[in-house]
Amino acid sequence: MRILYNKYLLPISAFFLAGIPTSAFAFQQHGGTEGLVVHQIAHILFFSGIIIFYNRINRTKTSGEGWFEFNTSLLFFLIWNCLTFYGHWYQSLMEPEKFISVDGTTVALIVDSIWDIFFYISKFDHLILVPAFLYLSFALFKWRVPA
């Protein structure tokens, strides 16, 4: 837990926690442009962090038990991040009429273009996220067992 005392980490974390936007939405529609931008920036930072982490790990620790599973997990997280980033961005551009609602609940989507189809596919992001966690669990399982 000594990492928590890092001189850079704590101020950055405090900045982002203190600056929580009032209507920041995750994969849902965010209340305002600011919330969306903040979330997307967060996705970009997550993407960048994973890329850097993946790169560093592959430079230093690539052999041994569990590292294949861990790297695979990181790749799934990157793919998932790209997918959700597209979903957030595209949904902010879509017209509300494209979502057919019954009693305030969406029941269907009117698809007019390929981008709409991509959007529809991006809504199945759990198909990427679940394998990411699954591989992470595999890696941890292997590391857990002492050599």
């Binding site: 000594r2 926690l17 995750a26 269907a108 529809y120």
Partner: protein, 776 residues
């Protein structure tokens, strides 16, 4: 195109649930890993990274599930209120994850540096630890060595103290006569030295004759005049005890070999002195005893050199002790055999070789230095030290010249007594016989020729003559030449036949206990039969009222000899023999019976002796008598057969030469032979017989037979003459005739070249039988 939204909803519900579950599973695994290996910084980092992902997963999954639940409950407004918080939380987690990822490299470098630092530190610590361990080990060893040296030194000091105090009195004195150190033994003898805290001079501690003189050992050693001085010292203790010491003084050097004093040791010899005096007294006593003893005593060392010669030995050997001392024993002790004069073997050598006591016979003569001869009896023994090692020989000699002379005188008297008894007995018997012969012949001569009583009177005279013949035969048993004619035989038959013959018609029962495997013996059957008959006859006379006789035989194997024996035990249960008479019963003509001649047991004893056996008698008055005969067993295993005498149907007649020095014998022999149809010629001596035979032989009319007397006084006897006759004609038949019927030549006549033997006195029938056997 319209795409349904329900698959998205379903996937969100299922995916969120699975994601939530996996997130918690990852949290569990991450925590387990962290707990297992809590010293790895990288693992700490992964734990944080995973934790943020888990928080993200929880936040997102819970958010999505809540959203779907609220939508299903038609509460979208509630979700719209919560959604910004969920999204913000997710964004924050993304940023945190970014931060962690961004700092991974830095943390990793720090981690690596830390690891390197740690490794370096650990190496340094390890090296330093090893160095310290080495130093510690070296110091421990040094300390241990030091302790050991100290302990060794302590033990050595204690050992030296023990040795010093266990030693005889010992004193160390410096060059100024000050006593430096003494041991316990010294303090006990010279108590003044018990306290050396003050100054104590050696001459104060033990004043002596040498103190303050130029002969003081300390002065002599200090001046370099001697390296060791040995002298005697004395001390009279308070209790009056006189102690004598051998005092040895030697230089005492320091570690640099500088003379700093003297060491004086005292070896007590009081007891030794006492023992020496006692030994000297003992030697004096021994010398006096030896000189006073009545027998001669000579001692030698192991090389046979004379060491002691007492007075008697000096007289017997003719040597003075001073002259004999150190000389070889045979030089002073000349012992020869009485009969042969041969030098006897050196008894000292025999004793040294055997290690046993050696007793010489009584037939030795000691020739002294001046040539005097003395009969001596000697015996010697080895002298052994306490370890039983032979260190010399002691020989005791006794002059028995006078005793032997007395013994010979007594023997002569006894022989004369025996001869007197024998001569008396013979005279008595022969007088009786001659009375009968002379009386009958005189009476026959007085009667007219035609009287019919003459033949019966002559027959009585003949019977008396035959009794005389038997008597002479018995007497010949005692003669030197009466050797038995031994043949290997079983004595069992002889015993049974002889005993049965004697006991025939009596009321005495004889029991035999003779084993079947009784060994054979070499015996003259006739003589042995005579022995058994005489003893059984004795037993019969001892039991006039009848009774039992037990005859038993047994084989005897002595433990210390290879010669086997048989034993014949004849026991009667008669009146017994008085103890006073037991040693006389074997004397000739000794008898207690009116019927006996007194020759029976004497003959038995003579026969058994000539068979190399023994005859013993044990008797208890009123109980009975036991005669025990012991005979050596034969080495042969098969009995010799008795020669079978042949009967000749056709009598041969021949030309016979008779040689005998007695004219009467020649005459009667010629008359008998002429009567038997032979042509006879007679000569009185062997040489004449040989010449006559030679002439007849050369003339072509040789004699068919010669009868020769065995012994001719002052002339050639038959034994020599037969050789010459046989040399002329080996086929010549010669008969030997002699009154010495038990002479070896008579017993083994064929061995000497004779064809037969004729015992004198002979009768017509006997002579005819022997002549016919020779002619055939």
């Amino acid at each position: 195109m319209i795409l349904p939204w329900s698959p998205i909803v379903c996937l969100e519900i299922i995916g969120s649930t699975v994601t939530l579950w996996l997130a918690f599973f990852c949290a569990y695994l991450s925590w387990s890993w962290f707990k297992n290996q809590n010293e790895d910084l990288f693992r700490d980092y992964i734990l944080l990274f995973t934790s943020t992902l888990i928080v993200f997963a929880c936040s997102r999954s819970i958010g999505h599930l809540l959203k779907q639940i609220l939508f299903l409950l038609s509460m979208p407004e509630t979700w719209h209120k919560i959604a910004p918080y969920s999204g913000a939380l997710n964004s924050s987690i993304f940023i945190i994850i970014f931060t962690f990822c961004l700092y991974y490299n830095r943390i990793n470098r720090i981690l690596n540096k830390l690891v390197l630092y740690k490794d370096d530190l650990e190496n340094t610590v390890s090296l330093r630890t090893k160095e310290l361990e080495r130093t510690n080990s070296s110091l421990t060893r040094e300390v241990s060595d030091r302790k050991r040296v100290e302990e060794d030194l302590r033990q050595s000091k204690a050992t030296l103290e023990n040795i010093l105090n266990s030693a005889p009195p010992l004193c160390i004195t410096d060059l100024d006569f000050n006593i430096l150190k003494v041991n316990d033994s010294y303090r006990q003898v010279w108590p003044l030295a018990a306290d050396l805290s003050g100054e104590l001079k050696c001459f104060q501690s033990r004043p002596g004759d040498l103190c303050h003189t130029e002969k003081c050992p300390l002065i002599l050693i200090a001046r370099g005049k001697a390296e060791e001085i040995v002298c005697e010292a004395e001390k009279i203790k308070a209790n009056g005890r006189h102690l004598i010491f051998i005092q040895t003084t030697r230089p005492f050097y320091n570690a640099d070999r500088e003379l700093i004093g003297v060491v004086t040791s005292f070896q007590e010899i009081s007891e030794q002195k006492k023992a020496e005096r006692a030994l000297a007294a003992e030697r004096e006593n021994l010398a006096v005893t030896l000189r006073s003893i009545g027998d001669g005593v000579i001692t030698t060392d192991t090389e046979g050199r004379v060491m002691i010669l007492n007075r008697v030995a000096e007289k017997l050997c003719g040597w003075k002790q001073e002259d004999a001392l150190g000389r070889p024993f045979p030089e002073i002790f000349h012992l020869i055999e009485d009969t042969t004069g041969i030098l006897c073997p050196d008894p000292v050598k025999k004793i040294l070789a055997s290690g046993d006591i050696v007793t010489g016979g009584e037939n030795a003569i000691l020739v002294s230095r001046d040539g005097t001869r003395r009969a001596i009896a000697d015996s010697g023994a080895p002298i052994r030290n306490p370890e039983s090692k032979i260190i010399g020989v002691v020989l005791v000699i006794r002059d028995i010249t006078e005793r032997k002379r007395m013994e010979q005188e007594i023997l002569k008297v006894k022989k004369l007594e025996s001869v007197g008894i024998l001569a008396g007995g013979i005279a008595h018997d022969f007088n009786n016989i001659l009375t009968s012969i002379l009386g009958n012949i005189n009476l026959a001569r007085q009667l007219p020729k035609e009287s019919g009583e003459i033949p019966s009177l002559l027959q009585e005279a003949e019977k008396a003559s035959l009794r005389a013949k038997d008597l002479t035969q018995q007497l010949l048993t005692f003669s030197k030449g009466g050797a038995p004619i031994k043949k290997t035989a079983s004595i069992a038959g002889v015993i049974r036949d002889s005993a049965s013959f004697i006991l025939r018609g009596s009321n005495i029962n004889c029991n035999f206990n003779i084993p079947e495997d009784l060994w054979l013996v070499d015996i003259d059957r006739g003589q042995m039969s005579q022995v058994i008959q005489n003893i059984i006859l004795n037993a019969r006379q001892a039991m006039p009222g009848g009774g039992n006789i037990l005859i038993s035989c047994e084989n005897i194997t002595p433990r210390l000899s290879n010669t086997k024996f048989i034993k014949i035990i004849i026991t009667d249960y008669g009146h017994g023999i008085p103890a006073a008479l037991l040693d006389k019963i074997f004397d000739p003509y000794f008898t207690t019976s009116k019927e006996g001649s007194g020759l029976g047991l004497a003959i038995c004893h003579s026969i058994i002796t000539k068979h190399d056996g023994t005859l013993e008698v044990k008797s208890r008055l009123g109980t009975g008598t036991t005669f025990t005969i012991t005979l050596p067993a034969s080495t042969e295993t098969v009995s010799a057969n008795e020669p079978v005498e042949k009967e000749y149907l056709v009598e041969k007649h021949g030309k016979i030469l008779i040689m005998d020095d007695e004219k009467s014998v020649r005459d009667i022999a010629e008359q008998i032979l002429t009567h038997l149809g032979h042509a006879t010629t007679s000569v009185e001596e062997g040489k004449k017989a040989v010449e006559m035979y030679k002439r007849a032989y050369e003339s072509g009319e040789p004699f068919d037979l010669i009868i020769m007397d065995l012994t001719i006084p002052d002339g050639m006897g038959g034994k020599e003459a037969v050789k010459e006759v046989l040399a002329l004609n080996p086929k010549t038949k010669v008969i030997v005739a002699s009154g010495y019927s038990n002479d070896p030549v008579m017993a083994n006549h064929t061995k000497y070249g004779f064809s037969g033997c004729l015992n004198k006195p002979f009768q017509l029938q006997e002579m005819n039988k022997v002549v016919q056997m020779a002619l055939h």
